[in-house]
């Protein structure tokens, strides 16, 4: 990990709401995130925790009429993307920050050749004039970077397998060497062997173009093998945040939700007959509980969890949003 203090991405107190049929869905409720240059941050959480919403917000691509960013700012290299004009945003998307979507099967346009779909992002952002031939060569070179022969750029998406399509998506995302790569569950739709290949390849590419990565996933194994730091998200809040060691070390104190997540992974060393999943379901985002959002499912919740603000306990790089973390230093808020 490259230790520089330069923050590529800073998210400050971000609140996002969706409005539908008179209901307000509180998808993201005041999250703070920092990604330094060259750092990989894993954003982990269940379905519906607000991970993808956060990812789309970074490129200011949330649906215009239904989503509202009610508070907070997102600074990409110091510039607030939420205040940018559409024209300036277009210069950011695909060039300074790009995104790999979850489902490669539907994320490529079926009627255009894959080469054209890569070329499109190059043409959009290239600073120098290039001939069609040069574009072809460049597209071929990018395809080879993701392990696809350059000659296949004249084929259509339906001629590619799922894993190959995701490689093409990655090729589109890295084509302009972005400083921030957002990967929204890039391997969820792929089968396990392909997952490993795609992750290995992403790791190589990350080194090669030296970009920061925001990896969104619900797979702790993927996080352990890819990320430098981890944020655990629950019901639109970050409940635990720290370096990979902070989160994965069983000696450390953890948020009960994080404990629950690890409890639902089979352990090779300790023999158990049953896994310990977290009981209950994510709270309804139109009607979030007061106090700690996790208290209805928390095995160790107390009366104090039901009311008031939950303080964030800090221990070095490790932050936990839980009342019970008494022996950690409290951050003054």
């Amino acid at each position: 990990m490259e230790k520089t203090s330069e923050n590529i991405l800073e998210i400050k107190n971000l609140h996002i709401e969706y409005h539908s049929d008179g209901e307000i869905v509180r998808a993201v409720n005041g999250i703070d995130l920092n990604i330094r240059k060259g750092e990989s941050l894993g954003l982990v959480g269940e379905t519906g925790a607000g991970k993808s919403t956060t990812a789309l917000a970074i490129l200011n691509m949330l649906p215009k009429y239904t989503a509202e960013i009610s508070q907070g700012e997102i600074l990409l290299k110091g510039e607030n993307v939420l205040k940018m004009k559409e024209k300036d945003l277009r210069k950011v998307r695909g060039s300074k920050a790009s995104i790999i979507f979850q489902d490669p099967m539907t994320s490529l346009n079926p009627v255009y050749k894959v080469g054209y779909q890569i070329e499109e992002v190059l043409r959009q952002h290239s600073t120098k004039k290039m001939s069609n031939e040069e574009y072809r060569d460049e597209v071929g070179r990018i395809l080879e970077m993701v392990g696809i022969p350059g000659s296949r750029q004249d084929e259509y998406p339906h001629q590619f397998s799922g894993g190959m399509k995701q490689r093409v998506m990655i090729a589109i995302a890295i084509a302009c060497r972005p400083e921030l790569l957002i990967a929204d569950e890039p391997t969820t739709a792929l089968d396990v062997t392909i997952q490993a290949q795609v992750l290995d390849m992403m790791r190589e590419l990350k080194k090669e173009i030296n970009s920061s990565v925001l990896l969104i996933t619900h797979d702790l194994g993927v996080v352990a093998s890819f990320c430098d730091s981890v944020a655990i998200m629950y019901a639109g809040e970050i409940v635990e945040y720290g370096t990979l060691e902070d989160i994965f070390d069983p000696e450390h104190k953890h948020h009960p939700y994080t404990d629950g997540l690890f409890g639902s992974i089979p352990n090779l060393i300790v023999k158990t007959d049953r896994l310990n999943p977290i009981n209950g379901l994510m709270p309804d985002p139109t009607d979030l509980p007061k106090g700690c959002k996790f208290h209805p499912r928390c095995p160790v919740s107390t009366e104090a969890c039901r009311n008031g603000d939950i303080p964030v306990a800090v221990d070095g790089t490790h932050k936990i949003k839980c009342i019970l973390m008494k022996n950690m230093r409290k951050r003054n808020e």
Binding site: N109, V111, G147, I194
Partner: protein, 326 residues
Amino acid sequence: MLKYVIKRILMIIPTMFIVTFIVFWLINITPADPGRIILGAEASQDLVDQVNHDLGYDLPLVQRYFKWVGDALHGDLGNSYYTKRPVYDEMMARFPYTVKLTFLSLGMAILIGLPLGVLCAVKQYSIADNILSTLSMFLAAMPAFWLGLLLLLQFSLRLGWFPSSGITLGWRSWVLPTFSLAVGYTASYLRYTRSAMLDTIRQDYVRTVRSKGCPESTVIWKHAFRNSMMTLVTITGMSLAGLLGGAFVIESVFSIPGLGLMGVTAIKRKDLPQIMASLVMLGTFFLVMMVVIDILYAFIDPRIKSKYETPKKKVSEKNKDVEGSI
């Protein structure tokens, strides 16, 4: 691809046989016969039978059908029972007017309905969308002949801007017929385009294009619209059938000497050769357009095109190279 096209064109032949036979049969089961209609209700049955015999109408259905098919294959569609003139000549003189009316209306439906439909989809729930969607519902529900009569009343009788009938005044003769035929289709086109675009605009690949930083015009027209084309081409094909049928009615309202007017008159008079001729012409025209649309599919969607193409060896070899890496 070529093989597929030829196959589609050859399919027209059996279809035409089936269509013509059904019409022959339908006319046969209606009461009254040409002899009776020519001579009137007062004529004696002997005389009517004589006329029918002269026309060849007394032969059994199947025999009559194959005689007609044999003649038609020799390019002879017979003479009209009434005018005694070759049907073919009259049909060829009239056909262009019907085609003109149909394509003018289709053109109007596409040129107006399509952009407005895209606009409604892109600005969903805006005031413009609400107004256009509601308005198009009313217009689509309006029968063409009724609208035609209203337009005649206002613009030809009261204001005198356009002629009420015939085609002798150049483009002005075509304004009212085209308009009355096209309004309903423009409205449906708008609605179909709107829903097709609303569907594609929400697709993941459209989001991908946005994430590349492409301008909104590229997102809408190059990516979303191109994928809506499949639906729109299908709708165009279906509209063509409706427009041809509508042209029959509108030609009667505005007295345009097209195939429709000829067909309607012929049906009233049971003028079999003329009915069959207009039917064969319209049927062929329609079926050819359907083949054109099927071929268009392949150009719009590479997945369909690849289905018609025999797989090349080259592709499978290329795949082999990559197997190691994926």
